[in-house]
Amino acid sequence: MNYLNSVKIAYRALFKNKTRSFLTMLGIIIGVGSVITMLAIGQGSSDSIKAEISQLGTNVIIVFPTAQQRGGVRSEAGTTQDLTEDHVTEIIAGCPSVRYATPVVYSTGQIIAGGQNWRTQIIGVYSDYLKIRNLEVELGTVYTAQDESRSGKVCLLGKTVSDNLFGEDVNPVGQTIRINRIPFKVIGVLEEKGQSMMGQDQDDMIIAPFSTVQKRIRAIDHINMIFISAVSENSIDQAIEEIDQVLRTHLKLVSGQEAPYDIRSQSEIVEMFSSTSRIMILLLASIAVISLIVGGIGIMNIMLVSVTERTREIGLRMAVGARKIDILFQFLIEAILLSVLGGIIGIIIGLISSQALSKILNWPTTVTPYSIIISFIFATAVGIFFGWYPARKAAKLHPIEALRYE
């Protein structure tokens, strides 16, 4: 008996019971469809998180102060005040793998311009910050080193801030705003960046010279973090090493002593987020796999019914010369055909529903080829695994008893 014939026989048998075959396949269809959709959602969200983090800038390294610890009591992260502008100067001078570095101080304040007011975040940084984060000035100019050294009261507005204080399509360059009652001159507006995937408005901020924000607004000596960019992607690890060396020397840390800061590269931050999304993907995929297994049990159930129902047919086939292996193949191929057809339909449905989710609900979805291949292989394996027992049962029948079966 050749295999093409077996497939034909199996196909005919399935086609004779269209409704039943379809309902049996439904389990596999839903299983494969959900595996593909779930993986697409997982992959899509992880992709968008990665894209988001890459918006931080190119080859970015961030130095955070860690939690303060006093006599065993730990405060929240960022409470140590050990990092100062001097460290940034040291890093720029002592790390050949670092291209730009800037201290960062954050403040929030009520901004007033004419009759309007708006509450937003003020970021105090060197103008190199724009280069590190790939920010562009749309109108006006960036502040100069002179503004920096004199703590000049100048600022750059994010698009949202500009729109809210001055109205849309109004050029605010040259106007004066008050940040916590201190007058600042607007010298530029940043190019619009839009909303981040996490729903944060990236244009709702003001950038001002570091010394101005630190001294005039916050009146502190320490800094909140250091933003650094490495010379190239390959030199990130080298740069981290150098930064760590410089900071440890400068802070006079003995070897083995815990540093009051954390150095994170962009790829580490990506890693941090993707490990969370990986857990989510695993969770989603395992639910889908369970539904595939349930689908497989459905196939086994129907195949067992089918073997019982067609006992006389099996007897007849044996009487006219079918060997045990021929009968085994016939039923095994039927089971595999059910799961493979179900798998193909499931893949199509998975593709459609992934598309629908991203179109209708705006969920980011990415269908990867490996998810299609894996779910297809898995569906076929389910067919073989759950088809084996009923097929074996059919092949073990004795021709005389099968022929007499009522």
Binding site: M1, G315, L316, A319, R323, K324, D326, P399
Partner: protein
Amino acid sequence: MGNLITLRDITKIYDLGSVKVPALNEVNLEISTGEFIAIMGASGSGKSTLMNIIGCLDNPTSGEYYLDGINVDKLNSDQLANIRNKKLGFVFQSFNLLARTSALENVELPLFYNLEINSSKRKQLAQVALEMVNLSDRLDHQPNQLSGGQQQRVAIARALVNKPILLLADEPTGNLDSKTTVEIMKVLQELNQSGRTIILVTHEHDISEYAKRVVELKDGKIIKDHAMKNRRAD
């Protein structure tokens, strides 16, 4: 040995665990090519068991069985399947046609299990077999579109499609009315006239009268073996 079939001391005992049921007790039988032989007996006489052994559907417990010069009593199930496929044809009481399958495809069935025959040859042989039973105008009909007699003729065509050396008919008219019975028995007689060896299993004397020779079984033993004198009209 010019015999088509030689049975020597064939014994069959069914082992039902606690009890052993003897079905055939040292049966000796010789059948030559071209015979039309009826195996008769009441139910439980062992005629079905004899038919199953001759039909290579079952192995005897002891004894020797030669079919067409081959010793078949020691063959395994795959080898027996091959013999059934190439040398034997079966006709059953309940037709055993595949439902929702055309007459042609039903007749093709045995050839599916013969790798030497391709699909066009298969179709052609099936058509020839259906012509032999005068059903060439019913090739595409499914069993539920055919009368009982036509269904049994399809089954006979299926039994003939592999050009068997022996045709085994187990109560072929058991499910048919008297008029159709005559029709089917005529078909079998014609086949015998054209040289085919036929073994007919029945419990009805009327039916056995179509055969040339009658073997009667009782309690697993042959009690009568004689030529049919008042044979029904050919």
